[in-house]
């Protein structure tokens, strides 16, 4: 395999790469996750990685911190080939990673998390010196200008705060190694609100002053915005290396999916006016985090809910799904009252829910794709009380094909699928039921690649067309506007605005922003 990076004239070409990956191959049962991957990272640059779900991005990064052992190929750090034994070893050569799934210990302090395993002066004579710990951690937090208190307990932080802490933790590498570190960021933005993304980018730009960064995201515009160079991955290999200055999102999209992007991203033209009558009517819904909320959804309608962190929109969703013990209020589904005390009851009434915390709440990661998919409506594959294996496999095959889920087999443990593919399974779980009347989507496209996203949008359109009501919490305002017939805006647990968003006549984002903050 050629040991020089793909052609692309570039200013910093002269400087020797900090990190070079040569012909890396990694096979998982049924999947070739990495297939002769070749790329390099140069000093003080931000390298963007894009690729479909399952393209091998996470696997690559994991191999770079010794968490996945490549079957063949080599990793060269500052000219020396290394066989990384694990995170600690990778750290010792200056490579650190912020994981796609956050990895901080919840029940200890921020300072401990940042210095975990490398307390250095924080521990003297075997005894923790808390003030020193705080000081040392503060040094790292200052690097990224984070206001988080090093003494705070980690599980008391917001998601965004925790992410800052992770970056700070990675930066602690500097003191540990003589060299500038290489920081790997796996989809750091997928769960962030826009303004949080801005802060993160600010951090990344600072980082570039003292380190090299590898940045994975499915939001092409972000990648273009922050990267100096972008590698496009497909099926475990680099299919292109591009200069952000020379391309735009659509070109990337093309490179990415390898085919013309069909129709418009959001399938706007598929938006039909909701014909049906009121499907869900909510009167004075009262629960922790949102008080006296009232609204209606008609069947075939997509109702977007916009709002910032803590606006109470997530609590609203969970309450409607019976997952918010103590929720009160008059909720009618097709005129019949809906139990608010039991998810079970909600499901039986024809409600579906896709939670945002996919890994801990969406899937049972050690159970099979099949089991996860048929989990909610296992009745549909039962003959009498018994599960009909054949019927179940047919069902799964159908949906795996329909949503293009990349999995070796239905027996594969879902935890081993790429994030995006896990999400598709969760969606399928609800779609299998004919009786689905209301689908509650909490950040359904989080972590999905552009292709998958637009497939999901298509599915949402289809669902709506088929008369199902959809309650949609979006990653981005843009998404909410594009997909919804109406958009509710929530603030501090109350509805502050409700705008119509008919095809063609989408409201002005600015108006919504104002209502949100």
């Amino acid at each position: 395999m050629s040991n020089h990076a793909p052609i692309a004239p570039d200013a910093s070409r002269s400087t020797a790469p900090v990190l070079a990956v040569r012909g890396l191959t990694k096979r998982y049962p049924g999947v070739l996750a990495l297939d002769g991957m070749v790329l390099e990272v140069r000093p003080r640059e931000v390298v963007g990685l894009i690729g479909e779900n399952g393209a091998g991005k996470s696997t690559l990064l994991k191999s770079l911190v010794g968490l996945a052992q490549p079957d063949s190929g080599s990793i060269v750090v500052r000219g020396e080939e290394v066989r990384l034994r694990g995170v600690a070893h990778a750290a010792s050569v200056g490579i650190g990673m912020v994981f796609q799934e956050q990895s901080l210990v919840p029940n200890i302090s921020v300072a401990e998390n940042i210095l975990l395993g490398a307390e250095g002066a924080g521990v003297r004579g075997g005894l923790f010196r808390w003030h020193r710990m705080a000081e040392l951690a503060q040094v790292q937090l200052d690097k990224i200008g984070s206001a988080v208190s090093p003494r705070a307990r980690t599980d008391s932080l917001t998601f965004a705060q925790r992410q800052m802490v992770e970056v700070a933790k990675v930066l602690a590498l500097e003191e540990r190694t003589a060299h500038e570190p290489v920081v790997l960021l796996d989809e750091p933005t997928s769960v962030l609100e826009r303004e949080e993304v801005e802060t993160l980018f600010a951090q990344v730009r600072r980082l570039r002053e003292r380190a090299s960064v590898v940045f994975v995201s499915h939001r092409l515009d972000e990648v273009l915005e922050i990267s100096d160079r972008v590698y496009v991955l497909r099926n475990g290999r680099v299919v292109a290396e591009v200069d952000p200055a020379e391309v735009d999102a659509t070109d990337l999209h093309h490179l990415l999916v390898g085919r013309e992007s069909t129709g418009s991203h959001y399938h706007d033209d598929a938006q039909q006016e909701p014909a049906g009558d009121v499907r869900l009517s909510v009167r004075e819904l009262q629960t922790a985090g949102c008080d006296k909320v009232s609204f209606e959804i008609r069947s075939g309608e997509v109702l977007g809910v916009a709002g910032v962190q803590g606006s109470g929109r997530e609590e609203l969703c969970r309450a409607l799904f019976g997952a918010m013990p103590g929720a009160r209020g008059q909720v009618l589904l097709d005129g019949r009252p809906l139990r608010l005390d039991s998810p079970r009851a909600a499901v039986l009434a024809g409600v579906g829910y896709v939670p945002s915390e996919r890994r801990t709440e969406g899937v049972v990661s050690s159970m099979s794709v099949t089991e996860n998919l048929s989990m909610a409506h296992v009745g549909t594959v039962c003959r009498g009380p018994l599960i009909d294996g054949r019927r179940e496999r047919e069902l799964v095959d159908t949906w795996v094909r329909r949503l293009g889920i990349r999995t070796p087999s239905g027996d594969t443990a879902i935890g081993t699928l790429s994030g995006g593919n896990q999400q598709k399974v969760v969606l399928a779980r609800w779609m299998v039921s004919e009786g689905l009347r209301l689908l509650i989507l909490d950040h359904p496209t989080r972590g999905l690649d552009v292709g998958a996203k637009s497939e999901v949008y298509e599915l949402i359109r289809e669902l709506a067309a088929s008369g199902c009501a959809v309650l949609l919490l979006s990653d981005t305002l843009e998404e909410a506007l594009a997909m919804s017939h109406r958009v509710l805006v929530m603030k501090d647990g109350r509805i502050t605005a409700c705008l119509d968003a008919p095809r063609g006549g989408k409201p002005d984002p600015v108006a919504i922003m104002e209502a949100m903050v």
Binding site: P106, V123, G415
Partner: protein, 363 residues
Amino acid sequence: MAGDTTPHAPTRSLEPAPLADAPAPGAGGGNGDAPGTTSGRARATRSADVVQTRASLIALAVLVVVFAAISPQFRTVGNLQQIIDAAAVLAVLATGITFVLLLGAIDLSLPGVIGACAMTVSLLVANSRNTQDLGLLGIGLTILLGAGFGLLSGVLSTRLRIPTFMTTLGMSAIGLGIATILFAGVRPVVLDEGLGAWAAHRIGGFTVMSLLAVAAVALGWAIQRWTRIGRYAAAIGGAEDIVLLSGVPVARYKTLAFGVAGAFYGLGAVMLTARLGSGVVEAGAGTDFAAITAAVIGGTLLSGGRGGVLQSMIGVLALTVLANGLILTGVSPYVQQAVQGVIVVLAVAVATWPVRRRLGVVK
């Protein structure tokens, strides 16, 4: 496998908790104060700790009040001393087992370890069986032996990757075997003055033993709060795989935690022997469940990462008060056991009831 880590899963529940502004429990890993900005659900998780601790405190308070109301003897200073003395051994054992429970592991080795240590110490200090008279040295050696047992449990669990339930259960059998061999049919009576004094001699109304116990608990608390063994134990219990990701030698610190626990069991065995006046093989019978129950009632969860030495002490006191109070209030011995069981559940349930929904997943 990094992709599968579930950092906040253990402490996730569905509902924001008004309770969140309550301070984190002292030993619960909350060194210090929470920042202003906190997300609803994250807050609920932390307050679960507070809830647990508060619940057990209330339970203890309720027990004390009720018994004090019913029985005049319960209110006496003498009985307070008696309760403290009675709690001494359990307190030391519970302190030890807390380190194991923090890991999210379990330890059933107490009966064996205590049996072996009890026989050892009674044969090392001046006794009726042999001419040994090592005094304090003998006690020290015994505590080391306890630590040895703990380390062995730890090594077996981490190196062979066996559930601690099994390794410690086996270790218990091994310990009892050793104890039985040492016993050899003749029970060694302790003649050592110093050791005898632990149980008999009183300072300010409290036996030497109780004071030793208090010191031991304090030590245990310090270990938990200020040493890697303690802090890592909590972290490992919180999210073992992440700690591993951070390059901490998890296996080593797990093993060490077991070692610390073992040392406390050793001390507990010495105290029991001092109290019984001779080496008794079954001295540790039932202590495993007693210690675990105490810890759990106190809010040190079996799932790991939550609670701590101080919380466990609440449980120890609750159990001791209960046993003591039931006798003093003249409950018939035939139903005492049953009553005790019901009260334990009721106490925890009632104390938890108003906030049960904030507790999220309870195993």
